[in-house]
Subunit: 262 residues, 3 copies
């Protein structure tokens, strides 16, 4: 039984997601559908690409991911299938698949075979007419070569990468979760390599932190803590409180780390 | 394996929907449940009827739809089953099934057989005690005649229909989706019949539009566009932007179309 | 086929719930997952315990409940399994399982066997690394004794209980649902025992009510009504309207009932 995981910016207040599921089950009544997330900000390709990157490795081999954040729907961007070592991804070719692990990518298909589409194909809802329908056929074991020609590459977007400048590691907040935790683009490896086991100071807004906590509990005394989150990104948190609101920091806020002299 | 699709105004912040699913699986552990939408505005029968109309044709034959927008719960409105050519609908008889395709309706049953209810039946949550339970039994193949007597008709509500007045086609916004797209009650057929292949002008608020776009991409230059949406209604949109907020238009806003003199 | 029901404060705007489901299906591809609710207020153990209490009896025997409201994640609180007559519960030992029916509890297990965890176990997301993984193994029929040693008791929290003072039954609002209905901690039995079939007066804010309605319909005339809700708690409601907003009452608001002299 194949899993189809949906990641969209469709929200849950309309019928978009429900109708996609109707279409999937009409084609493959044995599919198992998982809502990965539908609350991506409207048209925010970066956010979707980031959440996908952090999520897909937790799924079973063979899962088909359908990623529909598609501001260019009805335009010239291509619908594509990307096959990796373990998974299949169906999405518009707009960068939303940029953060898959590069070496795992085995093939990219430009979806052109309209046999697999829901007809007539609308100009405004390819999530239903193309992506859901194609994913359902894929989940039945249809070979990806049947959907269209292989292509060499896909669109890429870039996450803001941390960089070193004047002996400081500069990063930024790239995501704020529902608890108000501030997730940075600095991951564990980059951090450890930079500090070289020396003392350090993390500076963000008015906040200064000089150690990495190993659990939220350490923030009990009321000061913000720095911690590696469950996806290995450096995160700034306030115990049982909303760090984003309390510290007045948000996506895009700058953070830097400096090695301590002492 | 039968699909049960749920459409309610219960939201997702309480346990209502989760408990309905618990009840369904207790009766039919093989059911496949789809959330069509749970964010209908509280008690808004029109909105539920509209979303149902736009959604149900996308589902597999045999799907059982459970529609619970039920301001009259515990009162005298009847619980009913409507059987159409391909589907079954379970709902309170308050108009929420008004927009099913009329000629497809084969039978209407007044649900009276309490054997199929969860006991004791509360006075405030028939979604759990009657509608979920009845749907689960239906999805097991129970014959609809067993649930109660056939009745001749059900309650009807009406959508505001577009009309022609002084050579203008008058309509209104009947739905605003999460992207802020303004969906009107003017569908493709009504529009085409009115304009008779002549030039036309669409007037809504301060906005004037004189063509139908074929994709959102055409709105790139920043002006509002008119487009037929994926369910064939005339829609006013702003490229990558919220038309409702930007144009200060909402449900109930009037729109009209006039044939151009030139 | 075993049901796994999820109750969390993770919301639906992040990937937390989707990733938990990915983990569950990777371990048991035959599991059936139900979202009981994910919109518990951040860290509100009371609210989760209350919703769980009201919901679990509606589920099939054998259901595994995963309750993750876990402000102490990464700290010293234990992960536990509670086995009752009919169900299994997996949760942090922080009181969130306090309102299970006491006499039904058969065994409490301190989960210590790391074989069942997702490795490496993060310090911030045990919902994924411990609770989802353990629930998936349980749903495959793994014996609870394999997860760790039995313990004698678990953490308990208390709901504010109604009390009698100066001949008045004092209670409070403990929950407000999406419709704005005000749910009190006074249940049907406590109420009936107090009033002894005499006349009574319910006092809450500026509102005075002297009868129990049997359906929302009775509120048609515009005045607030008192009704026993579908889970048998005394509830204050306004017909087709939001009682919380209209009456300016919320969680924590006091209510009392006095026997009438006449």
């Amino acid at each position: 039984m194949k899993i189809i995981a949906l990641l969209t910016d469709f929200g849950l207040s309309d019928n978009f997601v429900g109708v996609m599921k109707g279409v999937i089950y009409r084609i493959n009544s044995e599919a198992k559908i998982v809502d990965l997330c539908h609350q991506i900000e409207s048209h925010n390709i970066h956010q979707a690409a980031f959440l996908l990157k952090k999520s897909y490795p937790y799924f079973s081999e063979g899962t088909v991911f359908v990623v529909v954040v598609d501001p260019g729907v009805g335009g010239e961007r291509k619908p594509i299938i990307v096959k990796t070592e373990k998974y299949l991804f169906v999405a518009p070719d707009n960068g939303v698949l940029s953060f898959l692990v590069e070496r795992d990518i085995k093939k990219i298909i430009h979806i052109t075979n309209e046999e697999y589409f829901l007809k007539p194909v609308s100009r405004t809802f390819h999530g239903r007419d193309i992506f859901a329908a194609v994913a359902a056929h894929l989940s039945e074991g249809e070979r990806i070569e049947n959907f269209g020609p292989a292509i060499k590459d896909m669109e890429r977007i870039e996450l803001p990468e941390p960089g070193v400048e004047k002996n400081r590691l500069l990063g930024e907040i790239i995501y704020v979760d529902r608890f108000g935790n501030l997730i940075t683009n600095i991951n564990r490896d980059v951090f450890l390599q930079f500090i070289e086991r020396k003392k350090f100071r993390i500076v963000i807004g008015e906040t200064r932190i000089s150690k990495i906590s190993s659990s939220y509990q350490e923030g009990k005394e009321g000061s913000p803590i720095a911690i590696f989150d469950s996806f290995d990104n450096l995160e700034i948190s306030l115990y049982r409180s909303d760090a984003s609101r309390s510290l007045n920091l948000n996506k895009g806020s700058k953070i830097y780390i400096e090695k301590s002299n002492t």
